[in-house]
């Protein structure tokens, strides 16, 4: 048939596809996985976070964010903004330095890598000579000082990364100026810290691991003085007035060294061990900031008594007589302090702490130093995410009620505005209000504002209060007792420890029109909740539903069901539970649906499914889908034991593989094919160790978990005959069976007292027996049926009930359209048989054309186990587009994917981050922001580095020959050509301009 299809329609369709579909990964929500470095630019008001996977993320005002990724797959160990510039420098684990910039393009800024550099030592030198351990970005903005493991300091000119060899500070130069009595034969060790004198940028302090600190004059290239500390140095801080240097040490002490002018000998103030007496851990970083009229702020991380509190992650803030040790739940990566004032040199206003699992900002100006709620970088994983659910286009009323419920919960936060304000958010206001709900292992459901670039927490619902759980509700967040020493205060919300895994949330369904919410969990519990603006004390009604329906000979070996509290419980404003259904056996709930118009909730587990009428509070239908020979399903979640075994095996395999790949690295300078052969051989050898083979067998009805209910769906459609539509319930199982039931629902006036019934109507057994993962009923126009209450609220066109309905059954392997009510097969599309991929996640979305406002169509969006997203047309189930989205190895990422009704999607790219992507050309939520270069700084003091002026003078006079002549050549050429070339010339001239300073600085220095 293809032969006869006209070309015209084909290309027209192709054009339409381009107007409808476009795949973009738009923004990453949540907290970066494994952060490893923190940087801050007070002039730009931007914060930079580097991660162990080589990503770099910049954050400013809410909505302003940039993301970059180093090509090298190495951890970012340090991030520095160039002072008063839009450039930043990153140091990676592999000792490479990278220069990034924010370049404006079409009115928006983008983060670009503009250079990389690897420090090369003299030939034959050991690698430690050039191993960078500390970096100082000089305030001139043109120099980088790189302290190395070998104790040398290399000076590099930026941008361009040109080594200024003659300026380097070698270890010999240092040792020659230090008295022998200190140096002796001892090694100074690596350069631990580099600090610039805040009032004289020609002076830098070099701190060595052994403890020695040397103040070096860059202009005269000589040491001015030295500070002979004897403890292992951890960090160094030059106070703002330039009069003191603070040093912190590995024994938990810090010292203040006063620099008296004219006197060679430094005076050490008494060494101070803040948490003294007993041995303490190192103080990793120390900062002292002055205040206008009072004592300075002193902040340091670490220094806890080793034996009693060695495991705490603390930052101590001391101001006047107040001292607080902020106690974080994960390791501290770094911290900085934001200061007030037009040049951000005033009072310390906020302490920003990056810990491994979250970002905590503490308001230092409000009494009690409360925490400021972060508008972004919120740890999604404060308890592990177990499921997610997206609701588009929330009605304003519900939105406001949810926000109001959330505000009540967040009273402990500071009222202060978010202190990081760099950049401008130019993104248009989101077209609608979207909610993302995440279910967590600890039984909470978190509501996030997913409308825009910032995934902002709105409200948190806890289901644990319904049950008699062992959880101690007010445990570790309680304030410490008076007079405790050290004065701990718990901060942060990352708390991955779940007291009872049965509380975990597995499925969520929210009706946005009625405010009814149902959540289902690991121990077969299904909670019905209703939004209430007032706190209420009520008893939650429990109902046990036996899904086995008298099937015998089985023994549930899994967890027991949760114990529902019988006494009334006080629930805060928000979603309040009124009924809990408990499945028996208490297996994890695998499918859930809510029809708020019919007031029914449908739920399924590996044993069967049921329908509960939450108005009359009784069960309408219970169906056991369990195969009598399926022992595994019966025994409960023992597979966890298996999976541990499996994961152990896999990790051994991985270790083995990494050994193989290590060996691989050493092969070099050989024929490429040989290399490939060797690699394959190594892989083969590995395979022999652990032969991986796959059984090829048709699925049979006796397979395990064939009765597991994968999907439940309500539809008002034609199930019995083609003239009367009736409410119906559809259920799909793992074994490829679809059950359809006709529901008899009494008219509204008798809804509360007449009985509801459910009658089995049809059953489809898919011959290929693949799990049914989706059921979509299409109306006479081929459009998916609207959601319950949607037409009642005039928000959707009522479905076409005249034409014939169809039901689309989506299995992991195929898409099949059946006619209704006869259920004859009409169309199908095979997926697995053709390309070996299987459907993992599926959703229906509406795609609007980017060209015309009024055209749009529905599509079926799905994600395969290969990590590809596809769109199928509806109702003809023709493949439209396909894009690789997630790595196929990222099984949890694939499993976590949710689609929105507007053709966007979210998946967990790490336990703490959602990646947002869009398949639609019309709906795109992505950061659009502009960062402008700060005004040139106004220096108030006379200690300007002379080289700066010199270089700018030279810049004007000295022009090298080469670019000039090159430009001339191009110009001549352009005369013969068009204006395109002229533009090129323009560009090349600009390029040359930026290249000039390199040469100039060199000559200036020389």
């Amino acid at each position: 048939m293809k032969r006869f299809r006209r070309h015209g329609t084909e290309s027209q369709r192709d054009r339409l596809k381009q107007e409808l579909f476009q795949f973009t990964k738009t923004v990453e929500h949540g907290f970066p996985h494994q952060p490893s470095a923190l940087g801050y630019s007070s002039s730009l008001q931007l914060m930079a976070i580097g991660t162990r996977s080589g990503a770099i993320k910049l954050y400013g005002a809410p909505g302003v964010e940039f993301m970059g990724l180093h090509d090298e797959n190495a951890a970012v160990t340090q991030v520095f903004f160039m002072p008063h510039q839009v450039e930043l420098v990153t140091l990676l684990d592999d000792n490479s330095l990278h220069m990034w910039t924010l370049r404006s393009h079409k009115g928006l800024s983008e983060l670009l890598e503009i250079g990389r550099f690897l420090l090369t030592g003299p030939p034959g030198a050991p690698p430690s000579v050039t191993r960078v351990t500390s970096v100082l970005t000089h305030s001139s903005g043109e120099l980088l000082l790189l302290g190395t493991e070998g104790g040398h300091v290399f000076i590099v000119e930026v941008p361009g990364f040109r080594e200024l060899e003659e300026m380097n500070i070698s270890l010999d130069q240092i040792t020659s100026c230090v008295p022998d009595d200190y140096v002796g034969r001892r090694n100074l060790e690596h350069v631990e810290a580099l600090q610039e004198n805040p009032i004289n940028s020609n002076q830098v302090a070099i701190g060595y691991g052994r403890g020695l600190m040397v103040i070096w004059d860059l202009n005269h290239r000589c040491a001015i003085r030295h500070i002979p500390a004897t403890q292992q140095l951890e960090s160094m801080w030059w106070t703002e007035n330039g009069s003191c240097i603070l040093s912190s040490h590995s024994d938990g002490s810090y010292c203040c060294w006063t620099l008296r002018t004219g006197d060679k000998k430094e005076e050490e103030e008494k060494s101070n061990i803040p948490y003294g007496h007993f041995p303490c851990k190192a103080i990793n970083k120390i900062v002292q900031l002055p205040t206008a009229g009072g004592p300075p702020f002193l902040l340091f991380s670490g220094g806890m008594p080793r034996a009693s509190y060695g495991d705490r992650h603390c930052i101590t803030v001391i101001y006047s007589k107040t001292q607080v040790a902020f106690d974080f739940t994960s390791r501290i990566i770094d911290f900085f302090v934001i200061r007030d004032g037009p040049h951000h040199t005033g009072e310390p206003s906020a302490l920003v702490v990056l810990v491994e699992e979250e970002l905590v900002v503490i308001d230092l100006q409000t009494e009690g130093w409360p925490v400021i709620q972060t508008p972004y970088l919120v740890p999604l994983h404060s308890s592990a995410i177990t499921c997610s659910y997206h609701v588009s286009a929330i009605p304003l009323k519900l939105w406001e009620r949810i926000i109001a419920a959330g505000v009540v919960q967040n009273t402990q936060y500071s009222k202060k505005l978010w202190p990081i304000t760099g950049g401008q958010n130019l993104a248009p206001d989101p077209p609608q209000r979207d909610l993302l709900l995440t279910g967590h292992e600890d039984g909470t459901v978190r509501f996030w504002d997913a409308s825009g670039v910032c995934l902002y927490p709105l409200y948190k619902l806890s289901t644990a209060a319904v049950f008699n759980a062992d959880a101690d509700l007010n445990d570790n967040m309680s304030q410490s007792a008076e007079g405790e020493w050290p004065p701990f205060r718990k901060v942060g919300c990352f708390d991955p420890y779940s007291d009872d895994p049965r509380l975990g949330i597995q499925k969520i369904h929210l009706c946005k029109y009625s405010g009814y919410l149902t959540v289902a969990g690991t121990a077969g519990q299904i909670l019905m909740l209703e939004l209430n603006d007032e706190a209420a004390e009520q008893t939650v009604e429990a109902k046990v539903v036996d899904l086995l329906q008298g099937q015998e000979g089985f023994r549930w070996k899994g967890h027991t069901q949760l114990d529902v509290r019988e006494e009334p419980v006080l629930f805060p404003p928000g979603f309040q539970p009124f009924t809990v259904v408990q499945c028996q056996p208490p297996a994890v709930v695998t499918a859930l649906n809510l029809h708020s118009e019919w007031k029914l909730v449908a739920f399924g587990t590996s044993h069967g499914f049921g329908v509960y009428d939450y108005l009359q509070k009784n069960t309408v239908l219970v169906k056991c889908t369990l195969n009598p020979s399926d022992q595994l399903a019966m025994e409960g979640p023992l597979s966890r034991v298996k999976s541990i075994k499996k994961s152990l095996r896999q990790s051994f395999r991985r270790i083995r593989r990494s050994r193989v790949s290590l060996r691989k690295h050493h092969i070099s300078n050989t024929n490429k094919i040989q290399e490939a052969n060797a690699r394959l051989e190594a892989e083969l050898a590995e395979m022999e160790l652990a032969p991986v083979q796959r059984k090829i067998e048709a699925r049979s009805s006796d397979d395990s978990f064939t009765g597991l209910v994968r999907i439940l769906c309500f539809a008002d459609t034609f199930l019995s005959d083609s003239s009367h539509n009736t409410p119906s319930l559809w259920a799909g199982t793992n074994g490829g069976t679809v059950f359809a039931y006709i529901l008899y629902i009494p008219p509204v006036e008798h809804r509360a007292d007449e009985a509801l019934t459910a009658q089995p109507a049809k059953e489809i057994q898919l011959m290929h027996r693949a799990p049914v993962v989706g059921i979509v009923v299409l109306d006479g126009h081929g459009a998916p049926l609207p959601e319950p209450l949607e037409t009642a609220h005039d928000l959707a066109r009522s479905p076409d009930l005249l034409g014939s309905h169809h039901v689309l059954v989506i299995s992991e392997e195929q898409f099949k359209v059946f006619t209704l009510p006869k259920l004859s097969s009409k169309m199908k599309l095979k997926l697995t048989a053709v390309d070996g991929s299987r459907v993992r996640r599926v959703g229906v979305a509406w795609f609007g054309s980017s060209r015309t406002e009024d055209y749009g169509e529905s599509g079926l969006v799905f994600l395969t186990n290969q990590g590809d997203v596809h769109v199928l047309s509806l109702p003809h189930i023709k493949m439209q587009i396909r894009y690789p989205c997630i790595r196929r190895e990222d099984v949890s990422g694939i499993a976590s994917c949710v689609f929105t009704k507007q053709g966007q999607g979210f998946y967990l790219m790490s336990p703490s981050e959602f990646e947002r992507f869009s398949l639609s050309t019309r709906y795109l939520v992505e950061p659009r922001c502009l960062v402008e270069a700060p005004l040139p700084p106004v220096f108030s003091n006379q200690h300007q580095p002379k080289l700066e002026g010199a270089s700018s003078a030279l810049r004007c006079t000295q022009d090298t020959e080469d670019p000039e002549s090159a430009a001339r050549r191009v110009m001549e050429h352009a005369l013969l050509n068009d204006e395109k070339v002229l533009q090129e010339i323009q560009k090349s001239l600009e390029g040359d301009q930026t290249a000039f300073p390199e040469n100039n600085v060199k000559s200036a220095v020389a």
Partner: protein, 402 residues
Amino acid sequence: MNKNHRVPSSRSLSAVEVKSKFGAEFRRFSLDRSKPGRFDEFYGLLQHVHRIPNVELLVAYADVHGDLLPINNDDNYLKAVKSANPLLRLFLQRKEEADYTTFGTDSLTRKKNTVLSAVLLRPDPNKKKPPVIISLPKDFRPVSSIIDVDILPETHRRVRLYKHGQEKPLGFYIRDGSSVRVTPQGLEKVPGIFISRLVPGGLADSTGLLAVNDEVLEVNGIEVVGKSLDQVTDMMIANSHNLIITVKPANQRNNVVRGGGGGGGAASGSSSDSGASYHGYVPQGAAATAGPTHIIQNFPVGELESDEDDEDLVIEVGGEAETIQRTTSNYSMLSLPRYEPHLNLRTTTAANSCSAFSINANGNLRGSGGSLTNTNASSTTPSPDRAKERRNLEEEGTVITL
């Protein structure tokens, strides 16, 4: 026994002379050629004339080629009567004593002494191996076939496995591996998918068409290059009802030799340890007297995707299960005659080490009355018994060629 040949009598046009032998006894009678009646009547007649009313019998006759063929239904009975010229020689055996190994093609004429003696005389006491009982024909159904021989390189083999909802598992495993390819740069190893294990008694094992270490190149017409082991596994399982695998056999000695009719016998004759076999479709009627014939089947890739096995079951509540009517039409494969349960098949094998054996299937297939189907097998397999058992499970349409 050749002495039994007679000069055709004048009555031969209207009557069939029947000489029936049971044990050491002969009976002679005649049948009306135009009205031979039904098989069960004939069976009763035989019991009557031999006076063995309660003995279960296996009835066989020698056809014009000297082949010993079974009579167990109306079709092959009619065929036997029709082809009798003029004498119909019948050999009766007690069912419980039946020696199934004696059926075969070409055996009576070529190896008269050996084969006929196996039937007519007492079984050879020197015979080393006990005769193998071969499944009765009702168990026969196509389980596998070699297809597209003419369009594939000789080193490749495209095998079709029929699951047919039977209990027998597909029964094989696949693994990752590497194969060597010749490139302009020299030999290069490339990753590939290989058969790693055959489950004894499984479909894959019983066809003898697949072997361990065969490289899997395609699944139902789709190349597996660049696909992961899991993807290929999923593809195979998704196609398990009608699985077509193109392999590069590890053993390249049994490959089909292309180039026409008579070559097939030679090709199969050279089959050795893996016991390769292939099947062909013969236009009905043309094969009645055909000797060993090599025939190939071709399926355009588009047709490989069969809907046949994909009929979902819809159960109306309270009603009976019905298969879903398909809106798409059958394709050529489905119009091939399906196996009919009454089709009888007997195999005979020589007791000697030559072990040339043949299968003759005789049946009325799809109303083209009296077409003789001819199957031929020859083998030098070291373990003929197992190989034979395996082979007799293979059937495709009208002709089996082993």
